[in-house]
Structures are given as structure tokens and as C-alpha cells.
């Protein structure tokens, strides 16, 4: 007797597969497929509320990860993670696994052939016009063997859908920059936290062994004569999703993430701009499309690394995927893959593509033109974007048909798939959404290894409606293959170049800015907090005569110097208005500092711990909260938000002291902090300590409190607040970590710890000069300040010219 319990479960009984499509969850008799049952057993013990809660947890975690890796804080509608995985049985996956291995080998052979011997063209398998007219064909890449070097298609990916007959079909090959594995790792880590027991109880195939083979594939690429290689991940310029991945993978695998401006070709080699000069790069893991990589030879590009192709040719660097890999991306080869597989591998193709036709063939052209609505049309020249021609307005369809008769050789038509569906949570209810799987493969010296899992992308089966949803792919019910089940036999992974003593200049500058912005944010926060607190307890504050210098000081540390804020109304309004401005987003104010703080942190992410990222994420949230509180003009919310912001900023500072390895990176972070604190203190004290105050006591106590030195002052002097003692405490005291001189000593100390190769002498001499200003002469304070300020600005200039300009002031290049 058939058990009816599966179909009567809440949620599942309303799940209706779409007619004419393969559904992953429910078979044609309406029963849940056996390999899904264990998952839903877990699922139903949670209850609907818990499911919704976990869905939102998953979303927050994905967003948090994204925000740690991309600079744009508001990405446009990123894919959300569906809490239900795409469950595949190991038995079914074996078909994909074997097919994908063959496909990776085949595409590799095709790239080598099309840039080399061109048997496929000579023997009439691949039409010459389709190859030579292809926008992805790089004529500069000559002899396949030479260009592909040891690199080949290290990583390939394919989008696969299930057709109505239950067969898997490839819709697209991804070979230029094979993306998706980073999201797979990210989604799995989130799912493992959202369903902590399920992945274990269901014995979901682990992704880890695959990532270790990915890691070892880079060891395999390393030029033989290099003892301590450096592998660098070259991130993309603009693409958000790819940037998230590049960053995630670089961090996970322990490689340095660079962008094109960090790298330079000299003497036919690739170098990373680092603090001690240029450091050689041996392996470049490219996450930037090849056409953008070298403006000298791969096409006009505002970015890229001129001479990179020459460096590859000279054999000093391995680029992976090799240049030329992009040629076999997409769909244009699909009509010829079976023939190519036969000729190049002597095998029949296992994992087939969706039916595709080259319009250069008259029969195929006629077949496609007579049934246009079933096809998507791809133009290999890149002039026309991929499109479903039948969906265009009538005149455009006619124009296209004329073009297809005139230049048929440009076009490949792919049959539009009726994608199989998977259960997906939409508005709290399970719905069958069309699924497309992204499969990953990596070549190592012991063969091709396919990621046992990945991501799938879900879209509504009917047009319009919700955006896409991502899924983690779970393989259950056994081992796919020995290869993916255990780590590879240990390939000797050479130690990467010692990063303790090496710091790329762009990272150094980012850390320096991180320090400066953190310090500025902290000063503004403390100052505003003290003022607001006094305002709360002292109803006459707004009328006090000492308030004017204090507000001038507040302006000076929050980017408002020079402009007097004019506000209608009384002094009380002016106070709250000034505070709001200091906390807002004008350049130099709190929200602005926090923005740049987060921005520089992302650029230096490789140097920051996971805990640091938690703090930074909280800071990002607090920034939004504060903005809202200011908008509502709610003093209570503002104070509360400032308290939390200060706690986070202090935590950040503590983490810097407590959990960062002492080295050049730490030094630059601290120099940035000390420099900013010195500069802002001078700005502040110049407004407040050099004038004759109407009321000394409240002014000095506010300053001391804002510098966290009030308690120390009282303990030390046990007297009234006297100007000499206050200046001593806040400016000249060598033991007060908030004093100006203390900052200068801190900078000197950090500079001394930098490697000797780093040109530290000039800046160190400048610091000593500034310190002398404070300790030697008995000048009036304002004289000292007016000498020290330009000297400090000059020191900042020294830093830029000594270490930073190479990378940040992007070298202008002229082409001819």
C-alpha cells in the first residue's frame, strides 16, 4: 500500500508542479522523490514561523558577506538565498560529474586547436566565419601551445538545466572567468549555519575537498624555478558579483587580491607594487575578462595591465585561465561540440547542450526562421545582444530576418528550454520555480575535478514577477566519486611569499585611510556626545559664552571649518543644528568618515580579522540608524546611536591593538590614526585653547572629557582647571595617549619598525622636526600650532609621494 503521508504534509499538498516540466521534488505520480524526503523531515519539524525566521537570517548573512567584499554599499537587487536547497541524489549527479569532466577536457582541447592547428576549421567542423568573425577571437594570440602555456582552462563552469524528459542539458559554457564557486562556498557556509544539523544528518557532500584541489591547481602552475611563489587574484573592475567572489575566494584561499593598478609589467615580468618596491608575481588568477586585461594587445581598455601578454609570452608569469579561454564561452560552439568531441577526443559527447543551430547552414536557417519564437538568437560578432527575436516589435523582426538572410553566418540559434523546476519559498509558500544549475570544474595535475554541489538560479516559470533566487545545491545519498570525496594526495604547496614583511602599497594606503577615518569618526563622536550630554543636564548651556569656541572646535574636526553655519532662531537651535551637521554627511563629518572608513576597510580586507568585520558591519548599520535619527531630529535616538557608534569604534581600535600581527600593515593603520588624531587635536585646540575664554571651567572640562582625559586630569592635578595644566595634559604630555606629542612619538615608533627598504628616513625626519616645535620653544601656543599644522600636512604629502602616489594617483597613460 502506498504511503500517503508525503503528499498530505502542510505546504506540500498545495505544491503543484508545472505541466510539461520536470519537477525536482515531485514525480509524475505526485509523490515526493525519495532523496528529498530526509530534508523535508527536518523542514517540517521547524514549523512555518521558524522557516521564515531562518530565511531572513540567511538573507542577512548573505548581505553581510557581500558588504564585506564590495565597495558599493547598495548593490542593485542582489540575488537572495532561498532556504530550500536544490537536492540532487549522488546517483543523478554522477551523470553531471562525468559529463562535466569530459566537457572541460573537450573545451580545453578546442581552445588549443582554434588558436593552434585549427583542425576543426580545416576539417569543416567549425565554420571559419563563425570563428574569425567572433568578437571573442583574439587575433593577437598566435600559437595555441605558446599562449596556453601551463595554464589552459584551469576553471570552467557550465549552466545546466533539466529538460522535460529529465535529461540535463548545457545552456552555456563559462570559460573566460568561470564564476559561481565563490557563491557556492558562501551559500554553503550560510546554509550550514541556518540548518546546522541538516547538512550533517543528510550527509551532504562537502565542498571542501574541491576547494583544496583548486588551491593545489595553483601550486601546480607555479614556474618550476620559483621557491616562494606569489599568487595574486586579479579582481574585476566593476562587476559587483564577480568582485564579491574574487574577494571571497582570495580570502578563503589566502591569496592577495589585487586590482590592475596594483600590478605593473617591467622587463617582461609582472610585479606587485609593494612598500619595499616591486615584488614579482608568478601566478595571476584572473577574475577580469581577458579583453580588459592588456590594452596593449587585447583591445582598448581603460584598465588592465599593459604588457601582460608579453609577460606571459616571456614565461615569467602564468595567467589562469589562460588568455584565449574566452573564445569557447557561451553558446556559439554548441552546434559543433559533438563533432569536435569526436575529432579531438575520439569520444561521443556525454553532457549534451540544448539544441542549437548555426544559421549559416541553409536547412537550419529555414528551420529556425519558420519557428522563431522557440529560439534565442546569439550574434558572434557581438554587434547585437542575445535576444528572443520573436518577442520584438514586428518591423524589427522583419529587419532581423533580412539581416539573417544577408549575413546568416553571424548567428547561432539556441532552443529555448522548458527548465525543470525546484520548490522555492515565494511569499512564505512553496512554488515550483524554473532552475538553472551552475556547475564548476577545475583542472589539476591529476585530472579534472567537479564541484559536488554549486549554486542554482531560480526564476519564475511565467514571465514577469519576482527577481531571481539562489539556491545551495546539496548532493545526498552517497559519494559521487573518489576524487571529490577526499582531499587530493598532498601536492606540495609551496609557501607563498612572506606577507608579513610585504605590503602592497594600495593596501598600505587603504589601512592608513582606515586609521585616519576611524580616528576622525571617533573624535567627532566623542565630542558630539559630550556636548549633547552637557546640553541635557545644563539648560543654560546654549546661552553660555564658552559655547562659541566649542562649536568652532566641533566644526573644525568635522569638516565644517571656514563656514559659519547661520541658523534662524535661538542659540539652542544653533547648537542642535551644528551637532547635526557634524554628524551628517558633509565631507569630514561623521557619516562621511564612516563611509570612507568602511570603504578603506574593504580595500584592505585581507588584513582584517573576521571579528573586525562583525564590528564593521555593525558600524555600517549604526551609520544608517544615525542618519534616520538625524532625519527625525530625535535627540534621544541620536544620543543612543552615538553611544553605540562609540562602542563599535572603540572595539575597532581595540581589535587593532589586540588582534593584528605587528608588521607594516599594523604600522600604517596606526600611523594613520596618530596622524589624524594629531591633526584634529591641533585644529580643535587652536579654536579653543588659544583664545581667552569667557568661562574657562566648562570649556576645559568639555575638552578634557572629549579627549577622555578629564578623570586623569583630576587625579593628577587635583586642582581647578588651569590653562597651563590643560595644555600640558592635552598637548605636551608624553604619557597621555590622547596628547599631540604622544601621537608624534607613536608615528616615529611605527616608522622605525618599517623595513629599511621602505624609504622611511624622510618622513621620520619630518616627524622629529614637528615634535621639536612642541618641546623646545616656549612660544605662544597659537604660534606653535600655526607652524605645526602645515608641517603635518607636509608629512601627509610625504607619505603620499613616498609610498602611495604610484598606485592611487593612477598613472596617466597615453597610447599611440
Amino acid at each position: 500500500m502506498r504511503q500517503a503521508r508525503e503528499v498530505t504534509r502542510p505546504g506540500l499538498d498545495s505544491y503543484r508542479p508545472v505541466a510539461g516540466r520536470f519537477d525536482e521534488l515531485v514525480d509524475e505520480r505526485g509523490e515526493v522523490r525519495p532523496h528529498w524526503r530526509p530534508f523535508f523531515d527536518t523542514w517540517f519539524t521547524l514549523g512555518p514561523d521558524e522557516v521564515v525566521r531562518r530565511q531572513s537570517v540567511a538573507r542577512r548573512m548573505v548581505m553581510a558577506e557581500r558588504s564585506a567584499h564590495v565597495t558599493d554599499s547598495e548593490p542593485e537587487r542582489p540575488e537572495e538565498l532561498d532556504p530550500i536547497p536544490y537536492v540532487v541524489s549522488a546517483e543523478t549527479w554522477r551523470v553531471i560529474d562525468q559529463g562535466m569532466i569530459q566537457r572541460s577536457v573537450l573545451l580545453n582541447a578546442i581552445v588549443a586547436d582554434l588558436y593552434g592547428e585549427r583542425r576543426l576549421v580545416r576539417e569543416g567542423v567549425v565554420p571559419a566565419s563563425l570563428l574569425f568573425g567572433n568578437i571573442a577571437y583574439q587575433a593577437a594570440l598566435t600559437d595555441g601551445a605558446q599562449w596556453l602555456g601551463g595554464g589552459h582552462l584551469t576553471m570552467t563552469a557550465a549552466d545546466v538545466v533539466r529538460t522535460a524528459d529529465g535529461e540535463f542539458r548545457v545552456t552555456r559554457d563559462v570559460t573566460d572567468v568561470a564564476t559561481g564557486s565563490g557563491h557556492a562556498a558562501l551559500y554553503r557556509s550560510v546554509m550550514a549555519r541556518v540548518f546546522p544539523t541538516a547538512t550533517r544528518d543528510l550527509a551532504v557532500c562537502s565542498l571542501d575537498p574541491w576547494f583544496s584541489s583548486l588551491h593545489s591547481s595553483f601550486a601546480h602552475h607555479t614556474p618550476v624555478d620559483v621557491q616562494s611563489p606569489r599568487t595574486v587574484v586579479l579582481g574585476p573592475d566593476d562587476d559587483d558579483d564577480v568582485a564579491v567572489e574574487a574577494s571571497y575566494l582570495a580570502t578563503a584561499l589566502g591569496f592577495h587580491l589585487a586590482d590592475a593598478s596594483d600590478l605593473v609589467v617591467r622587463s617582461g615580468r609582472v610585479w606587485l607594487r609593494a612598500l619595499g618596491g616591486l615584488e614579482p608575481v608568478n601566478v595571476l588568477w584572473r577574475r577580469m575578462p581577458e579583453r580588459l586585461c592588456d590594452p596593449l594587445e587585447l583591445g582598448p581598455s581603460a584598465s588592465g595591465i599593459p604588457g601582460l601578454v608579453q609577460a606571459v609570452c616571456s614565461g615569467s608569469v602564468v595567467v589562469s585561465n589562460a588568455f584565449g579561454s574566452g573564445l569557447v564561452e557561451g553558446q556559439w560552439l554548441h552546434p559543433f561540440l559533438e563533432g569536435a568531441c569526436d575529432i579531438l577526443l575520439g569520444e561521443s559527447l556525454q553532457l549534451l547542450s540544448l539544441p542549437a543551430h548555426w544559421l549559416g547552414h541553409p536547412d537550419h536557417r529555414n528551420a529556425v526562421l519558420s519557428d522563431l519564437q522557440r529560439f534565442e538568437i546569439f550574434d558572434v560578432t557581438g554587434i547585437r545582444a542575445p535576444q528572443i527575436v520573436a518577442a520584438l516589435p514586428e518591423p524589427e523582426i522583419e529587419a532581423w530576418i533580412r539581416l539573417a538572410h544577408q549575413e546568416p553566418h553571424r548567428f547561432v540559434a539556441q532552443r529555448r528550454p522548458d527548465c525543470g523546476t525546484t520548490p522555492t519559498v515565494v511569499g512564505g509558500v512553496l512554488r515550483p520555480l524554473a532552475s538553472s544549475l551552475r556547475i564548476q570544474a577545475v583542472r589539476t595535475d591529476s585530472g579534472v575535478s567537479v564541484l559536488p554541489g554549486g549554486v542554482s538560479h531560480q526564476t519564475p516559470t511565467a514571465p514577469g514577477g519576482a527577481t531571481g533566487l539562489g539556491k545551495d545545491v546539496w548532493i545526498v545519498g552517497g559519494v559521487v566519486s573518489e576524487r571529490t570525496a577526499r582531499p587530493l594526495p598532498s601536492v606540495a604547496v609551496l609557501p607563498q611569499i612572506d606577507l608579513r614583511s610585504s605590503l602592497p602599497t594600495r593596501s598600505a594606503e587603504s589601512l592608513w585611510w582606515l586609521g585616519r577615518n576611524a580616528e576622525r569618526a571617533e573624535m567627532t563622536t566623542r565630542f558630539a556626545r559630550v556636548l549633547l550630554a552637557r546640553n541635557d543636564v545644563d539648560p543654560h548651556l546654549a546661552c553660555s559664552s564658552w559655547l562659541e569656541p566649542v562649536l568652532a572646535g566641533l566644526r573644525s574636526v568635522s569638516g565644517g571649518a571656514g563656514g559659519d553655519a547661520v541658523v534662524e532662531g535661538g542659540r539652542s537651535e544653533q547648537l542642535s543644528h551644528e551637532v547635526a551637521l557634524a554628524l551628517g554627511s558633509r565631507p569630514g563629518a561623521l557619516a562621511d568618515s564612516l563611509h570612507y572608513l568602511l570603504w578603506s576597510a574593504r580595500a584592505a580586507r585581507g588584513f582584517l580579522s573576521a571579528t573586525t568585520w562583525k564590528v564593521l558591519n555593525d558600524l555600517a548599520c549604526e551609520r544608517a540608524t544615525l542618519e534616520l535619527a538625524l532625519e527625525k531630529d530625535d535627540g534621544f535616538l541620536v544620543s543612543e546611536s552615538l553611544d553605540r557608534t562609540l562602542v563599535e569604534l572603540t572595539a575597532l581600535s581595540g581589535l587593532g591593538i589586540d588582534s593584528m600581527v605587528r608588521g607594516p600593515a599594523w604600522s600604517f593603520l596606526n600611523i594613520g590614526r596618530a596622524l589624524e588624531r594629531a591633526l584634529q587635536s591641533i585644529n580643535l585646540f587652536d579654536e579653543t585653547l588659544t583664545v581667552e575664554p569667557g568661562e574657562a571651567e566648562p570649556l576645559y572640562s568639555t575638552l578634557l572629557a572629549a579627549a577622555e582625559s578629564l578623570v586623569a586630569y583630576r587625579r593628577r592635578y587635583r586642582s581647578d582647571l588651569r590653562i597651563d595644566s590643560v595644555v600640558d595634559m592635552l598637548v605636551r604630555d608624553v604619557s597621555n595617549p590622547r596628547s599631540v606629542v604622544f601621537q608624534l612619538d607613536r608615528i616615529a615608533h611605527c616608522l622605525a619598525s618599517l623595513p629599511e627598504s621602505s624609504n622611511r628616513v624622510g618622513p621620520a625626519a619630518r616627524v622629529a622636526e614637528i615634535r621639536d616645535l612642541f618641546t623646545s620653544a616656549d612660544e605662544h601656543l597659537s604660534v606653535t600650532f600655526s607652524a605645526a599644522r602645515p608641517a603635518l600636512l607636509q608629512l601627509i604629502g610625504d607619505f603620499a609621494s613616498t609610498w602611495f602616489t604610484q598606485s592611487f594617483t593612477q598613472e596617466l597613460s597615453t597610447t599611440r
Partner: protein, 291 residues
């Protein structure tokens, strides 16, 4: 009959300011062809390169890459070569132009593969209906391709006026056709684009022509600088060079440097400069003499 030429090609750039470094790709050394043998050739530059690499590019052209990695405010490149050239031959017979496309697809030689590459549009020599209409009168159905292209080359020579400085390297072929004036590379790009618009293969050839005319001959146009012309593929026979600027098919008194899909593939000097943006002032001198 073999003629020996000595070519001295000097290019001088003045940047007007100091730049930090530069990388250059040069196509300044002559390749061997069916009618040409390079006896000696060299390319040198001042300041001396920090790094240099000589190799054959995708089209088999002799290519030099170098980088200069110290501050400098100008560059002088001197290319010198001695080449022996024989008189070109013309095909005894040629297939109908409308059969060329399928004949070359059927011929599996390396030359035919190159022809199929050169039948595709490229950046400076695209295909279009305008260019096809311009070429069509020379290509009635079944006309032998040799006769057709020679006549077309002649017509182009008559239609377009050689005006130095009237265009730059980025002027598109259709624009040249509209203005009816240009320099040698415009003649070449217009011819190449027109042939491609009819589905015929055409490639860009860069080189030189003899500077001083021997007695009894006329001085060639384009002799004061590097020169350019085009070639088309005749199935079963090979590549035929045509110089529309001088109305010669095949060209005489020419030295071939390199060939490609258009100017971009074989520019004599192409590079990237690092440093402040500079205004480059260029002066070129070419001397091609019989020795």
C-alpha cells in the same frame, strides 16, 4: 630580375615633457614573401630599451616588443633593412569572383585560412551595404576575380584623391568614400572594406615604395613615409597584392614589412606611455634606395 633595396626608416617622437616609462610594439622588420628576401635588417631605439623581445606575431610578421623603464622625453626609432625583391607574377587565370568564398572554404591551406580570417570585418575595415554598392559595378556575375579587383583598384585610384594629412589613422572607410580624399592607408582600408562587403577576402599590407624614381620612371606616391596597400586571395593561386594609391597590380618597386586585417594589426609603432599626459610630436623620414 632581382632588385636590391636599402631602407632607412627613422621615427622621432618628442614628448615635450618627461615620461616615466613606455612599452612599444613595432612592426618594422621586413618579412620574407614569395618575391622578397630580407638580407639584413635591424631596428634600434634611443634611449636603449630596458627589455626587448623579438618574435613572430599571429600573422607571421616580425615583431619587436620593448620597454623603456627610465624617465625620458622622446624616442628615436631607426629601422634599417636590405631586401632583394623579384618581379611579381600575375595569375594566369582566376576563378569567378562569386566562387571565391566557397573555393577558399574548400581549400585547407594556411593561406586559405588566413583568407577566411581576412574576409571578416575588422575595426578599421568593416563591411557595409554602402561599401558593397560602391564596389559592385566592378563585380558583375561570373567575372574572373583578377579582372574584377584590378579594375576596381583602378576605379578607386581615379575616384579618391591623395591628400596628405586629410585623414588620420582612425578615419573609417565610409568617411573616406564620402570625402573622396585620403592617404595610402585610407585607399587600402576602403578597398579592403569594399571587398569584404562582397564576401571577398582582403588584407592590409604595410611597407615602403622606392623614394627616387630611376630614370624614365615616375616618382611613386607615398614614398616619403611608410606606405600601405592591400592584397586579396585568389583560390588555387595565392595572395595578390594591389596598390590603389599608385594604381599598380601587382605593385612594383615595393618593400613589404607586414600584413594583417587592417592598420591596427601592423601599425609600425604602437605603445603605451606612463607618466603625465603628453602631446606627442612626430617626425618620420623614409629613404628607400636601390643599391
Amino acid at each position: 630580375m632581382t632588385t636590391r633595396y636599402r631602407v632607412i626608416h627613422r621615427t622621432e617622437y618628442a614628448y615635450g615633457a618627461s615620461i616615466n616609462s613606455e612599452q612599444t610594439i613595432a612592426h618594422l622588420l621586413p618579412r620574407d614573401t614569395y618575391v622578397q628576401t630580407a638580407i639584413h635588417s635591424e631596428v634600434t631605439c634611443v634611449p636603449a630599451p630596458t627589455f626587448r623581445r623579438d618574435y613572430l606575431d599571429a600573422f607571421g610578421n616580425r615583431t619587436t616588443y620593448w620597454s623603456i623603464e627610465e624617465p625620458h622625453d622622446g624616442l628615436v626609432v631607426t629601422a634599417m633593412c636590405l631586401v632583394d625583391t623579384d618581379v611579381s607574377v600575375i595569375p594566369p587565370e582566376s576563378p569567378a569572383w562569386d566562387d571565391v568564398a566557397w573555393l577558399m572554404a574548400d581549400e585547407h591551406s594556411t593561406d586559405a585560412l588566413m583568407a577566411m580570417l581576412c574576409a571578416q570585418r575588422s575595426g578599421l575595415a568593416p563591411a557595409s551595404e554602402v561599401l558593397a554598392s560602391y564596389a559592385r559595378p566592378s563585380f558583375p556575375p561570373r567575372r574572373p576575380v583578377y579582372d574584377a579587383v584590378v579594375e576596381f583598384c583602378h576605379r578607386l585610384h581615379e575616384d579618391i584623391t591623395f591628400v596628405p594629412g586629410s585623414t588620420d589613422v582612425t578615419t573609417p572607410a565610409e568617411e573616406v568614400l564620402r570625402r573622396r580624399e585620403g592617404v595610402c592607408q585610407d585607399f587600402a582600408h576602403l578597398a579592403i572594406g569594399s571587398l569584404r562587403s562582397l564576401g571577398l577576402p582582403a588584407r592590409y599590407v604595410s611597407g615602403y615604395v622606392e623614394t627616387e624614381a630611376p630614370e624614365g620612371m615616375t616618382k611613386m606616391v607615398g614614398s616619403d613615409a611608410s606606405h600601405a596597400w592591400f592584397a586579396t586571395f585568389i583560390p588555387g593561386w595565392g595572395w595578390l597584392d594591389l596598390d590603389p594609391t599608385n594604381d599598380q597590380a601587382p605593385p612594383e618597386r615595393h618593400v613589404t614589412l607586414a600584413w594583417g586585417r587592417d592598420y591596427t594589426d601592423v601599425a609600425p609603432l604602437r605603445g603605451v606611455l606612463f607618466g603625465p599626459t603628453v602631446e606627442q610630436r612626430l617626425s618620420v623620414s623614409v629613404d628607400v634606395a636601390r643599391v
